[in-house]
Symmetry: C2
C-alpha cells in the first residue's frame, strides 16, 4: 500500500509543462534555484511521505490522542516522524532564508503540502499551524518577539497554534469574550476560554506558542476591538531558555469523526489570574492580522482536500486493477465469461474518471494560485501586475478552499464505493480518508462562509475588475484551444458554459446588491460550486491544450491506426492522450450539470426565503 | 435530544392525505383494521424508538461489538431493548396472523421501519435480517422447517441472517465456493466460508438461524447451480428444544466506519466436517429464492437511508433554531445588529430546505411502493392490476434503494455542515449518523448495481410497458396540478423535465441495447440519480397538489393579506403552505440541475470507455 502517493508524472506535468514554473528562476529572487533543486525537494518529500508519514497516519488513527490532568498525549508513533520533519527543515520551506526558511517558491511548498497532507493529514496540520504562528511572528512581531520565538517555531522545535474560536462565538469572531489587561511591564494578562484549538496542548514539543485573539479592556465591541497576543505555554527568558509555566491550561480534547491523531483542545487562560501574553502587532488590529493569514490557511486546507482525495484515488485505482469481480458488460450473457478487474466496469470507470478529472483540475487550480503568489513576490513584477495577481488570488482562494474540500469529500466517498463492502472496513485505508477529510469543509471558514465571501466580496471586487481578469485568463486558454484541431470542439463547448457563467455571475452579483439579497445568498453555495467546476474545466482544457501540442509532436502525421499504436506503446503519448480524454469527460459529462445549476441559480427562487420557521416542521 | 424523531405530522399527511391508505381497510384482507389501529401502532413504535432505541444507539456506538474465541458480544445496552422489541412483537408486523405475524399492511411496517432505523439502525438491521430469514422459511420451508423455526424467528426469540457473500465472489454471487453434500438422512453437510454476514454470531439470542447459499456437489457452475440451506447455530430437536452445537463458527468481526453495534461476521462452516443444513426450497433455485427477498431487503435499506437522514434533519433543524450565530444578511453593516439563530441565514435555510424536500419526497416515494405492495395483496385486486403494480414495484425498488441511501448520505453530511465544528465531534449526534448511513449505499447491492438493474432490466421491462405505466402515474399528478391555480406554473415547469426524462430514458435504453452499451452503462448511475430526482419532484408536486386543495378550503376566498395572516396563525395552513414552498424549491432549484444531468447522459460521451488502464496513471 505504501508504494502509493505516486502522481509524480502528473505533478511534473503541471509544474513544468502547464505552468512552466522554471520561469520563476529567471527572476533575481529565485536565481539560485533550478528545476533540479525543485525535483530534489519533491523527491525527498515523497520519500518521507511514503516511508514515514503514511504508515504513521494509519497507526495514529487507531492510537488517537488522550487527555489526562491537563496533559495531551499524541500518538506515540508520531514522535519519531515529527523529529524527521524538524530535521528535514520542512516547516518553513517557502520562507526567506534570513528568517530561517528554505527560500523555495510557494508552489513547491504546495506540492510538498499535497504529499504530506495525502500521507498524514494530522502531522501536516501540525506543521501548517506551526508555520502559520511563525508567519504571524515574522510579519507582526517586534524584534524581541522574533528573537525569542521565530527560529524555534519555523524550525518546529516548538509547535504553534491559531487560537481564535470560542464556544459562544464560532464563525462570528467579533463576539469573542477573551479579554486582555495591560500590566505595568507592558505585557498583558489574558483571561478567557477557547475551543477547537488544534495542538494548543501536545507532547510533541516542549513549548507551544499560541497566537490568541482577545479584547483589550476598554476596546470597541465587535471585530474592531480585537487584538492579537502571543501566549506561550512556557514563558521564555531573555536568553531563550524556558521560564515559568504560563497560566494556559488544556481542559479537554474533542472526540472527533476523524483526524484522531490531531488533538483538538479546549483551553482556559488566566484561571489562576496569571496568563501572560505579549501584544503581537497593533492594538485592535488583531483580526486584520489574523485575516492576513487566512489566505495561507485556506489554501493549506485546500491542499488537505487535494492530498487526501488524491490518495483516495490512487488507492481506489489500485484496488480496481487488482480486484477481479463480475463479467464484462458486453459478455454478461456468456456463461463462460471470466471475471474481469473492477476497472473494466463502466460504472467503476466513471467513478475513477470523476476522481481523476476533479483531482487533476483542482491540482492545477491550486498550484496556479501558488504560482500567482510567487509571481507577486518576484522582483520583476510591476505594481500593476501585482494588483492584478492579488485580485486573482483573492477571488480564487474561496473557490479553492470550498471546492477542493467539498469535492474531495465526495471523491473519498467514491473511493469507498469502489472498494464496496471492504471500503467501509478499517482493514482497508479509504474509510479513514473520508473521516479525515470531513473537517476540511468546516475549519478555516465553512464552505458556506467561503461561498458568502465569493459572492459578497470577491466577484464585485474593484468594481468587477477582478472577476473580469479571471475571465480573461480563462479566455486565453479557450482561444488557444479553439485553434487546435483535436480539442477545438471541446473548446467551443466550454465557451458556451463560460458565457453562461459570466451572465450568471453578473445576475447573482446584482441580485446580492438588491432587494433580492436573501435569494441571492441562498444561491451562494451553488454559485461557488459552479465557479469551482468552471475552474476545473478551464484547467483541464488548458492541460489538454498543452498535451495536444506535445502529442502532435510525438505522433507526427501518423494516420488514425498508427496514432493508436503509438499511444499504446509510448508512455508519454498515453499520458498526453489521457489528458485530452479527461477534459472531454469533464466538459461533456459534468459541465452540462453545471449549466443546469446555473439555470437554477438564475431562477433566484424565493421559496427558501419565504418559508417560515414553523414551515420546516419538526416541532 | 431524544424528544426528536417527530415528523408525525408529515407521516400522517402522506398516509391519510396523499396516499389515502384508509382505502385498504375496505378490502376484506384488512377489514378488521382502521385508522385508529394504524395510529396506535405508529404511536407505540415512536414511543419505543424515542425512549429506548435512540439512547441505546448512541451508547451502542461507543460500546461497539467485540469478538473473542468465536464469541461475539453486542453492546450490553442492546439486550434490554431487544427484549422489548420481542415482547412488542415488532418483527413480523406485516406478516399474516396465522404464521405469527401482526397482519398490518406493508406501508405501516415501513413507517415503523423508518422510526426504528432512524433511532437505532443497528437494532433495526437486526430485526430486518431476522424477519428476512423468517420470510424465506415461510415461503420456501417444508412443514417440518416451519414447525421448528418459523414462530421462533418471527417472534425474534431466535435471530436470523442472510449468508450470501464470500470473499472471492462479492457482488458476483455466482462465483461462490461454499458447497453442500447430501447425507443419507436427507440433510446436507455444508463446507465453506462467508464474510460480511450481519449478526451470524451474537449474544442477543440463544440460537441463530442462517439461510446459507451453497452449491450442491455436481450442480451446474454459476448462478444456476446454487441452493439455499437452513443452517442453525444449534441444531433443533423435534420437540423444538436445542440440540447439538452445529459446526458453524465465527472467525472474526469487522471494524467498520459505522454501525458499531452491529456485528459483521466472518463465518466458517464445516471446518470440523460437521456443519449440518437442511435444503430450503428446491435444489439449484437458491438464488431465485434469495432474489425473491431482495425487494424486501432493498426497500428495508432504503428505509435505513430515510430514517437516518430524517433524524439528521430533525437534529440539524433543532440546532439551527437554538444556536445563535452571526448577523442577519440584511444587517451585516449594522454594528449593533444582534446575532440571529442559524436558521435565519440563507445558506443554512438552503441546506434545511434541501434536506426537507429530499426527505419528504423520498418518504412519499418509499411509502408509495409500500402501498403498491399492499395493493397487490388485496383480495379485490385484479390479475391485470397486480401485474401493473408489480411492474411499478420492480421499477421503483432500485430507485428507492439507490437514491434514498445516496441522497441520505449527502443529507447526513449536510447536517454536520449545519452544526459546523460541533458536527464533527462525537459529543453531538450527527457524525454517527453519517458513519452509520455509509454502508446503506453498499449492502444489498451497491448503488452501481441498482443503477445497472434499472437501466439493464427495469426500464425495458415488458417492452417498456412498465416504464410507461410509471410515466402515466406521474402524469396523473401533473394533470391535476396543472388545473390548480396556485401550482399550475410549477406543474408546467415539471412537465418539461418529465418530457425530457422520457426522451432520456428512451435514448439511454436504446444505447444500452446497441454498440454503445458501454457508454450507456457509464451513464447508468447518473440516470438512476435523475430518476430519483424526477420521482422526488413528482411526489412533492403531488403533495403540493393535495396541500393546495386543503389550503384553499381553510383560507376560503381571503385576499393576499388575510391569507398570510391565516397561514401564520393556523398550524395546518402553515403545514400545507410549506408543502407548496417545498415543491417550488425543488422544481426551481434542484430540477434544473437534473435537466443538465440529462443533457450529460444524452451526450453518451465515449471518453470513459476509451481511456486505457495506463491512461488512469498511478503506476
Amino acid at each position: 500500500m505504501v508504494q502509493l502517493l505516486n502522481d509524480r508524472r502528473d505533478i511534473q506535468f503541471v509544474l513544468y509543462e502547464q505552468l512552466c514554473i522554471e520561469s520563476l528562476t529567471k527572476d533575481s529572487k529565485y536565481s539560485d534555484l533550478n528545476r533540479k533543486t525543485f525535483d530534489l525537494v519533491i523527491s525527498e518529500a515523497k520519500a518521507l511521505a511514503i516511508k514515514e508519514l503514511l504508515p504513521a497516519s494509519i497507526e495514529g488513527d487507531v492510537q488517537g490522542c488522550s487527555f489526562e490532568n491537563g496533559k495531551v498525549t499524541v500518538p506515540a508513533v508520531f514522535h519519531s516522524v515529527y523529529k524527521l520533519i524538524v530535521e528535514g527543515e520542512w516547516i518553513a520551506l517557502s520562507d526567506d532564508l534570513d528568517v530561517g526558511g528554505q527560500g523555495m517558491p510557494q508552489i513547491i511548498k504546495m506540492v510538498v503540502d499535497e504529499l504530506f497532507q495525502g500521507a498524514n493529514t494530522c502531522l501536516a496540520l501540525s506543521m501548517g499551524l506551526t508555520h502559520g504562528a511563525g508567519k504571524l511572528i515574522e510579519i507582526y512581531g517586534t524584534e524581541e518577539q522574533k528573537k525569542l520565538y521565530l527560529k524555534k517555531v519555523y524550525s518546529g522545535e516548538w509547535t504553534g497554534t491559531m487560537a481564535l474560536t470560542e464556544a459562544g462565538a464560532g464563525s462570528e469572531v467579533g463576539e469573542l469574550e477573551a479579554s486582555a489587561k495591560k500590566n505595568p511591564d507592558g505585557t498583558y494578562s489574558i483571561t478567557g476560554n477557547k475551543v477547537f484549538i488544534t495542538q494548543a496542548e501536545n507532547n510533541l514539543t516542549e513549548n507551544i506558542i499560541n497566537p490568541v485573539l482577545a479584547r483589550i479592556e476598554g476596546s470597541p465591541k465587535g471585530t474592531r476591538g480585537i487584538s492579537l497576543f502571543l501566549v506561550p505555554k512556557y514563558l521564555v527568558n531573555e536568553d531563550g531558555s524556558l521560564g515559568e509555566r504560563n497560566d494556559i491550561e488544556c481542559t479537554g480534547i474533542e472526540e472527533k469523526i476523524g483526524i484522531h491523531g490531531s488533538p483538538t483542545c479546549s483551553m482556559a487562560m488566566g484561571s489562576k489570574g496569571n496568563c501572560i501574553g505579549t501584544l503581537l502587532g497593533k492594538e485592535n488590529e488583531g483580526l486584520k492580522s489574523m485575516f492576513h493569514m487566512m489566505n495561507e490557511a485556506r489554501l493549506f486546507v485546500a491542499m488537505q482536500g487535494l492530498g487526501l482525495s488524491s490518495t483516495a484515488y490512487l488507492y481506489a485505482l489500485n484496488y480496481a486493477r487488482e480486484r477481479f469481480q463480475g463479467k464484462h458488460i458486453t459478455k454478461l450473457r456468456e456463461s463462460d465469461a471470466k471475471q474481469v478487474p473492477l476497472i473494466e466496469h463502466p460504472d467503476i470507470k466513471r467513478m475513477l474518471m470523476m476522481m481523476k478529472s476533479s483531482i487533476e483540475g483542482l491540482r492545477s487550480l491550486n498550484y496556479y494560485v501558488g504560482l500567482c503568489i510567487d509571481q507577486v513576490g518576484l522582483e520583476a513584477t510591476s505594481q500593476e501586475e501585482k494588483k492584478r495577481l492579488n485580485g486573482l488570488i483573492a477571488l480564487l482562494i474561496p473557490i479553492c478552499k470550498a471546492h477542493t474540500t467539498e469535492r474531495g469529500f465526495e471523491l473519498c466517498n467514491m473511493a469507498i464505493q469502489i472498494y464496496g463492502g471492504a471500503g467501509a472496513c478499517r482493514e482497508y485505508p479509504v474509510e479513514q480518508l473520508l473521516r479525515d477529510i470531513k473537517i476540511a469543509t468546516i475549519y478555516e471558514g465553512t464552505t458556506g462562509i467561503q461561498a458568502m465571501d465569493l459572492l459578497g466580496r470577491k466577484i464585485g471586487m474593484n468594481k468587477g475588475r477582478v472577476f473580469q481578469d479571471f475571465i480573461e485568463e480563462i479566455n486565453k486558454t479557450v482561444i488557444t484551444a479553439e485553434n487546435q484541431s483535436s480539442i477545438s470542439v471541446l473548446a467551443r463547448q466550454f465557451k458556451k458554459a463560460l458565457d453562461k457563467f459570466k451572465k450568471t455571475a453578473l445576475n447573482i452579483g446584482q441580485a446580492a446588491a438588491s432587494q433580492q439579497i436573501q435569494e441571492a445568498f441562498s444561491q451562494a453555495y451553488p454559485f461557488c460550486e459552479v465557479s469551482g467546476d468552471i475552474s476545473i474545466a478551464w484547467m483541464l482544457l488548458w492541460r489538454a491544450s498543452v498535451a495536444s501540442f506535445k502529442l502532435d509532436k510525438i505522433l507526427g502525421k501518423a494516420d488514425e491506426e498508427k496514432r493508436a499504436e503509438k499511444i499504446a506503446k509510448n508512455k508519454d503519448a498515453a499520458f498526453y492522450n489521457s489528458q485530452i480524454q479527461t477534459a472531454q469527460y469533464f466538459i461533456n459529462s459534468v459541465i452540462p450539470k453545471t449549466m443546469g445549476m446555473m439555470d437554477a441559480i438564475n431562477n433566484l427562487d424565493s421559496a427558501v426565503v419565504n418559508i417560515t420557521d414553523a414551515g420546516f416542521g419538526g416541532k
